[in-house]
Symmetry: C2
């Protein structure tokens, strides 16, 4: 009943037309690439480089739960869905191969919506050598639903469970921008343009993660999708250690510095999520040596935000409300 992306052009009707324009727009923005069996058969086929694993992950989002039409364009909705999924490949220092995109659209959303979604999808793929490999477009009787499956390859996938005692915890870029934007939208305020931009076009740290994995002995890694504290806790729990975050060192956008010490500000930085930065651990003293080189290469900083020590869970040093050991959700930080 559904029209697979892989059945392009063979059946009449609205679904097929919406698929056609979505795929066409995404491919034209993303750029084409090589693939054994292209879009147009029952499945797409590819061969990973010899000795490399294929890595795969899915990320679903639903209208009214994860996004609202009033808050962003369809381009942004498409972009963010794909960027969020690609960010899971960055967490493993994998190289993208492509994505499958499944979309459920209410019938009243016509080809313009499909073109706009496709444009955002293409923007997110562009520059990462990632292809739209296939997917599915179906009708929805209610909300828009997006599911993005990402495929990549990697020789040695980074894991969460390798943190060692004394390791430093580092993060790329800045945190809090996405949460601050959502907060402003909810309060019907206009976010600062710098903050809004970070929310609308987050950069999955694919190239940065591979560069860091080549230049450093990264012991564990994750992307910041659920918020710094929660993602750091994933690393700590998987590794059987504790992580302390030093609040003053958590990097944020210049326009959010003034609210850092407010309770919302602390919440944006520590628990906000959806910033899609790359959080990693490495032996003490090793990262500093490549921090300048990283900045020269990418125009983005990496910042030490904490370290691993004996114990369980995640604590925060330097918050006015006191040091929070594992129980940060007791302090109004929504998780």
């Amino acid at each position: 009943m559904s029209e697979s992306f892989l059945d392009l052009g063979l059946a009449p009707g609205l679904e097929t037309e919406r698929i056609r324009v979505l795929v066409q727009e995404a491919q034209s923005v993303a750029g084409h690439g090589e693939i054994s069996v292209p879009v147009g058969d029952d499945a797409a086929a590819f061969t990973p480089p010899q000795g490399h694993d294929v890595v795969v992950s899915s990320d679903a989002s639903v209208e009214e739960v994860h996004f609202r039409r009033e808050w962003m364009t369809w381009e942004t909705i498409g972009y963010r869905a794909v960027a969020a999924a690609l960010s899971d490949l960055a967490a493993m220092a994998a190289t993208p191969i492509g994505i499958l995109l499944s979309v459920a659209l209410p019938p009243e959303l016509g080809v313009e919506t499909a073109v706009a979604l496709g444009h955002g999808v293409g923007e997110a793929l562009h520059g990462h050598d990632a292809l739209l490999l296939g997917g599915d477009l179906v009708a929805s009787p209610g909300p828009v639903f997006l599911d993005v499956t990402v495929l990549g390859h990697v020789g040695n996938p980074l894991r969460r469970n390798g943190v060692s005692l004394g390791d430093e915890v580092w993060v790329t870029g800045t945190l809090g921008g996405a949460a601050a934007t959502i907060h402003d939208f909810s309060a019907q305020m206009e976010p600062h343009p710098e903050v809004r931009k970070v929310f609308e076009r987050p950069c999955p740290r694919l190239t940065e993660a591979r560069w860091l994995a080549e230049h450093l002995n990264i012991t564990a890694a994750i992307d910041v999708s659920d918020g710094l504290l929660r993602d750091a806790r994933h690393l700590a729990m998987a590794s059987g250690l504790a992580i302390q975050i030093v609040f003053d060192q958590v990097p944020t956008l210049p326009s959010l510095e003034s609210i850092r010490k407010t309770s919302s500000g602390a919440q944006f930085l520590l628990a906000g999520g959806e910033d899609y930065e790359f959080l990693f651990t490495a032996p003490a003293g090793s990262v500093n040596q490549v921090a300048e080189l990283f900045k020269d290469e990418f125009g983005t900083e990496i910042t030490q935000v904490g370290h691993a020590h004996e114990g369980v869970g995640v604590s925060v040093h330097g918050l006015d409300v006191g040091d929070l050991v594992d129980g940060f959700d007791h302090f109004g930080l929504s998780m």
Copy 2:
């Protein structure tokens, strides 16, 4: 914001509990297997056999569009979603590796629903050496949404575009059962148990397709998901030839034989879809030689339903309404 299957057990809450029970149930029914990075990191990782392509496809379904809660159990909904996706691998004669399952569930559906869905997913994976590699579980403010991504591997994927002049067109099993069941449900009638069973537990022809690809020179193949005529047309169009279907030869269930010559019966057999049988072409005379062996091996028949000839599109020979050339949708066969 969403709880990835890969974040199991690290956060409290309803979503996490529903994921945990769904995955646990699916894995216990499906049986476990080997995988480089199991469920529990940012992505799953695997290595295909050397010289094999990875093949990948997605299949989405939405409540009220593709299924109704009143018509089937959650076990059946989970089973059918996975079977439909696996069937795309059968179309390429690929061997399954695993699936990613994204589900959007309304909050009022609790852990019992997750267990039932997981059970059906596990049933569909069982016997095919396919693993639940990951996925995503999110909240839905409206209908249930399922998206299944299947991954497999194959040395030489079967394609749609290899039909040659004079090739015979064959199909596994029987057609029409799924459409007849949906028809009965819509008319608030109880389907014949034999017919209903075919609808509720369709068998993706994975092993059968690989066996046939080993024993025959299969020139093109597809799974019957959209209906015999439409799927045959996909083969014909991709290959630049015409296919004639001989209506009297189209195999159906014994309990549907009596309505074969009615307009609904013809519609179930020719345009019904969702039977997930394997439709393939091979040089004239070659398939007959292995048909008995196939039946001995699988307890299922393969049947010749037509042949390829010069021209465009698909025609049906032997329908009372006359021979339909390409325009079968003019005769009330809904596509």
